[in-house]
Structures are given as C-alpha cells and as structure tokens.
Subunit: 458 residues, 2 copies
Amino acid sequence: MRDQPATSSGGTFTLGDRDLALATDLYQLTMAAVYAELEPMPASTFELFVRRLPASRNFLVLGGLEQALAALEALRFDGEQLAYLRSLPPLRGVSTAFFDRLAAFRFSGEVWAMPEGTVFFAQEPVLRVTAPLLEAQLVETLLLSIVNFQTTIASKAARVRLAAGDAVGLAEFGGRRAHGPQAAAWAARAAYLGGFDSTSNVLAGQRLGIPVVGTMAHSFVMAFADEEQAFERYLDTFPEHAILLVDTYDTLEGVRHALALGRPFAGVRLDSGDLAALARETRRLLDAGGRPEARIFASGDLDEWKIAALRAAGAPIDAFGVGTQLSTSADAPYLGGIYKLVEIEAGGRALPKFKASAGKATYPGKKQVVREMSAGRMARDRVVPAAGQEGGLLRPVLRAGRRLRAEPLAGARAHCRAELARLPEPLRQLDPAEPYAVEVDPALEELLNEERQRLLTP
Amino acid sequence: MRDQPATSSGGTFTLGDRDLALATDLYQLTMAAVYAELEPMPASTFELFVRRLPASRNFLVLGGLEQALAALEALRFDGEQLAYLRSLPPLRGVSTAFFDRLAAFRFSGEVWAMPEGTVFFAQEPVLRVTAPLLEAQLVETLLLSIVNFQTTIASKAARVRLAAGDAVGLAEFGGRRAHGPQAAAWAARAAYLGGFDSTSNVLAGQRLGIPVVGTMAHSFVMAFADEEQAFERYLDTFPEHAILLVDTYDTLEGVRHALALGRPFAGVRLDSGDLAALARETRRLLDAGGRPEARIFASGDLDEWKIAALRAAGAPIDAFGVGTQLSTSADAPYLGGIYKLVEIEAGGRALPKFKASAGKATYPGKKQVVREMSAGRMARDRVVPAAGQEGGLLRPVLRAGRRLRAEPLAGARAHCRAELARLPEPLRQLDPAEPYAVEVDPALEELLNEERQRLLTP
C-alpha cells in the first residue's frame, strides 16, 4: 500500500454492515491466505478471556455479546473489498482460490458464551469459538473490538449503579466525549446493560429502545435575555417535562428564578459547585416554594466515587447524569481481552494448544467455567476442562453460523442486575478488594506442564 | 420513552450516514423545538475549544475536522427518524411545524477552523460555527464527539512520533482494544494524521488509503506442529513480505529457526521480554546468519515512554507497532473539548455571550487565534476579537453549508509534521513542560468584566 498514498480524507466515513469484513487487522487476512492452502483445513477452538482485571475493578460485566454474534452472522466480503485486498502488496501474489474462498465466506462455526450481563473474572473464558481454522482466526479482531469495549463500559456502569444504590435514577450522557459518534451509541447500550436507566443518546434510543432523557444546555439559558425568559420559553414548549438548568449564572438564584415563574416544572439540574450543599439548599427552596414534586438532577464530571460521596452525605439528589467518566471508562479506559488458540483438531485428534511467551502463558484445551454459590452469593469459580461440563456458565449461542436465540437487551440488563446482587459484599465496594477465588483445575495445570515438557524435549 | 422498554438487542447496530442526525443528545432536539418558535430566528456563533490541556499533554493536534465538516454537509432527518422523535414523551406535544422544519433540515451556516493537523493549546477556539441558532446548537454533540476523539488520538500519536524520531517506522495496531470497530478505524486515521506511517486496520486502508501492514499472530505459530513449519508455510505464501513473529516459545530460538530455513525474509517481530537486549541479540544473529537486510519490528504494550527508553538504549529496532496505549490514548483517554455560545445576533445587533458558572467562565464574542513565531518556532499565541483578524489560524472552511475545499489526509498529515517541527523544544519533550504562552487579549477580558457587571447590576 505504500505506493497508494492517503489521498482521501474519508468524508463522514461511516461504517455499515458491509464494512464489518474489513474491520480487522491485516494479519488476519495474510494468515487466512496460508490457512486456505491447508488440506484438510483443521478445526480449531479459540477462547476469549482477560488475563488480569484492571487494577480498579473487582469484577467485570460481559458486554457486546449480541453485536459480536450478529457480526459473525453478517460477515461477508463484497467485490469492492476483494478488489482492494488483491491490490495490497502482500496479497498480490496470493492465489485466486483464496479470494474465491473469501467471496464465498460465511462463518460456519459454533460459539459458546456466557450470557450477556454475566459477572466474570480473570482467566475465565467468556466466549469460545470452534470453527475451521481460517474462520475462527479471521474473526478475532472484530470480536475483541466489540466485546472489549462494551465490557469496559458495562463494568464501569455497574460500579456506578452499586455506588448510587437502586433508588436513584442514572442517566448516561457522555456522548460528546466518547470515542466518536459510534462509540457514543455503543457506550449508551453498555451503560444501560450495566444498570443505567436511560441515556441522552437519541440514536441508542431509536435503535435499541433505551429510554432517552434530556434537559437543557447552558447555551440555551444564555441565548435569551435572562434566565427567567429562558425557563419560561422552555416551559411553554415542554410544560410537563422541563428540567431547568439552574447554574448558568448562580445556582440558587436560578432555582429562585424557576420558582418565580409560578408554574410547575419537572425538576432542576445542578451542574457545578458543591453539589451536596447546593442540592440541600435547592431542596429547601423548592419545598418552601411549593414545588415538593420537582426533582433534583445532578451532573458535572461525576463518577462512582463522587456519587458515593454525595449519597454518603445524604444529598437530596433524585437522579445523576454521568458523562465522560462513564462513556470512556476514564479510570480503566481499555480492557486487555485476548482471543487465544486452545485446540487444533488434526487427523481426527484434538491437540491442545498453549503459548509459553514470558508472562503470557495460556492454558491449553477447551474450557468451561463452573460457579459455586453459597447463601445466594458467588463463592468460587472453577475453570475446568470443557468435556462433560454442560452445567457451566458457557452455553451454546451459535451453531453452524446461526444464532440459537436473540437475547433482548432488557433481559441481559435484568440478568446483570441479578448478577450484581449475587456478588460477595467486598466486591461490591468501590475500593479494590481481595480477588475473587478463581481456581484453575489441576487437570489444566497438568496439561500445561505436559505440553511444556513435550515442547522442551523434542 | 419509559413506556417503551428496550426490547431490541441491536443486531450489528452499525451506523451509516443516515444515522448522523440522531447521533446526538436529546436536549439538542428539545432546545431546537423551542428555538423553532423564535421569530425571527437569531443568528448565533459557537466556538469549540478546551479549557485545559490534559495533565500529560504539552500540546494538542487538531483531528477529525474533515469528518466534522462532512457530517455537517450530510445531516438529514428521514421519515423513520422523525416518527421516532414524535413518539418521545417530551416531543409528543410539540407542534407539527417543528418536525416539518427537521424534515427540511440542511445545515446552512458558516464554519471557520484551524487546518486539520494544527497544533493548538487551551483557551484557543479551533472551530467556530455561525448559523441560525437552531442549526448551530443542533450539531454540538456530533461535532464534539468527532473532534474530541480524533484530536485525542492525533495528539497521542504526535507524542509517539516525537519520542521515536523520524528515522523509525511506526505502525498503529490497537484496533482490538479501541472503543468498538468504528473507533478502531477512526483511531487509525488520527494516528496517521499525527505521524504514524501505517496501520493494521484494513478498513482504514480501504476507505482512507492509509498504508496497511501485518505480520502474524502467536496463534499462527501455534497452529502448526512447530515454529519452523509455521515460518516455512508463511514464507511459501509471502516470500517477499514475511515478518516472522519469533517469541511464541523462545525469542532467540525463534530467530534461529527463521535463519535455519535458509531463505530470505523481510524481518522478525519481537513482542515480549526485554526488547532492548533481545533486539541487540537478534540483530547479531541476523547479521551473523547472513540476513543483514532483515528488519526488526518490536511491539508489546508500547507507548511513547517505552519507545523513548528503547531509542535511548540504542536498541536496533527498525519499526514499532503501537496498539492499546495509542488507540485509547490510555494516559489521557478523553479530551474535554466544549462548544460554547459566544454571540447572538438579535435585532441587527451582535450580543456577546458568556457563561459565569463557577470555574467554567467563557470569554464572550467571536475570536481568532494569532500565532507569533520566533526563529522558526512558535513563540506565543494570542486569542483576540475576530473582527478584522483575517490573518489568524482560523480560516473559513464551510460557507452556506458547503465545504470550500476538501483537504486530503496526506496534506493534513504533512501539515502536522511541519507543526511539530515548529514546537518549542521543551514542548516536544514527553515530560510536562512550562505551559506555552497563550495570551487572552485584554479587550476580551474587559468585555467579560463588562458583561459580568451588566449581569450583576440589572
């Protein structure tokens, strides 16, 4: 490609279903070109997991499964994409048969996964793909980019929900700081999955049915001659739904201006200053002003820690809006989810596979996760060889390339809520806790050691 | 929307041009509904800027301008979107005239902006929108989500380039940890803009003409009986382009296996361990083995700091692959770019506007940025009233809703490179430097004080 310099600026460069096939790393395609020449093509199994939790996380919530499976079903290469691939220097010399194979590509494999919204921990496979080697490898980047991100945000959202308690409202509105307009919509989905009630993102509302909410911006207040006029005009248009932003000039003056209109309004939003003190004084003013039904909505660079502090201080806040810190998971902005080959089937025999790189060893063979409960709470997880383990957390979700069922987002969200209730109490706290017990089955340790030995003594 | 629970899981939920109109916060639409009733509709000016640089940044590189402008040109509401909006509880009672207005929506305003790839600092407007109030407000979320993200990544990429120097290759390959498949492609674009040479992201290659590169994964090596067989099969398919990943089992053994094939190869990739020591020993083995032309490619959770250390240690590495830390800008994962109303034109008079919220004051009126140079380096910037300042960094880029020109990505990248060369030396270092001098014109300070006075003494 070096002979084809970047001349396009990309326009809006949106990404539709048909682009999914190229939303990948080039090496997936060069490796596929080699695999295409294997006769017979071996079957393979890859597992998606994280080696370690981010330092500031006691647990993770699986997100993005639905999009990952839909992408597997939708993956196709069109003529334009194939022409582009053929033009790339490394692929130019590759046989026509390979491109014919891509032209006919359909993901034909099997996927097992934990249900979306499940709480999981380090070393636990959350998704397992079994497919012809070319196919299983080709989908790596796409699966990781979807699952890593939504898991990141769902996990952050769950922490915010645990900090806020069940009684207060939580709205996501971090779209303007998310990693592009598309990530904004995905973040809204994952936040809802993790326990938020609503989002300001209209696209997420339209496409996913997530409740959308909105108040007003400072610029709205500034656009009028004064605050009272701004509030009045907003109430004229939205007599039942107006949440008035009161801090553009002076928060408590803003509350007084809202009351001075002598009309009911849904609530006020505080977006700056000492929120606990301002919320208390605002509540007092609203009650004294005959608006006990008006709700107090708070925002302003909030995260789970600030919300916990406001709750602990007894601030009378009915709902929180959380933006940047949620939509970018700013304290843990990425997840190191990986997708590793664990088994190859060749000549009718399953060969367990592992990696021995310094500090990056992986356990060989297909695995399952078994969760032990005690008094309604998670007590211990075991990572065990998959054979004969039908009762584990991983369940079949896609067979012969087709999803077995589609899980509504509301269902995954309810599952997540139930999962959070089953977390041991220390893991529900914001501070780092003693890690949850995940035991790797001795049989897997033995297998790893055997394989290592076999490699070292050829 | 609470009466319409989330029943859809969203499928692949891709986002095409037609979705741009709803890639916004609901309040932009509720405010628009109020503005639609103003007679006459006032003209307004908004400016996009950051209040503060992230702690770990000495400068920022403007990214995403091209997509932001393309989005303004493409923004339309279709029937399905309008039907959805009408169904939302707050908008249900709004007059039909408002939805007719949205149905006919075209962005008709004017935009001034710094060229993409320009270095900028806190308090400097980088983009200025003048349009009827409804239009200028409506595009806020979309502009911010595009510009904030690409600026974040371009700025990180520029730091990596400064650390690496001009002689070594830099490839972006953080797609799997980016915030979704779409953010992955945007990150590839912004990394290229900021000084990277290539990406592993195939979609960015196809759509933007960015050079794409790829090596092989550990799973590829593991899929064969042994490392030598894996290398051999790869070389059979890619005799001229093979970069062999040598650390799956033991890095230097891997290099020996590559040499033992007795065939030329393009290079090797080191992905773990002590990269400086391994690179030196690898170089020695390659030279002694008759492959002085084989290049050494290094990767493995690299960032600008690690690359600077490897360069300082004289590690013989020809090219670096940078993933997660770049594609998520992990040390500064978001940018607090904001979009503020600075002027309203009503009754033929331009009224400067500002915000006085605690710690969040903004300067009123249209502004321009003038850069003073000294001996070829940036010496001082001044933020001045825009009137009569044609020679500043902000230039007209869109008029009456149409772009004046499209800037090829390669041109913006070259501009960024020239900008980095003009940075004062301390700002080119990775450590936090004394902030660059940005002086707000006394006339703007006076205007702010006057407006504050006017507000406090009605």
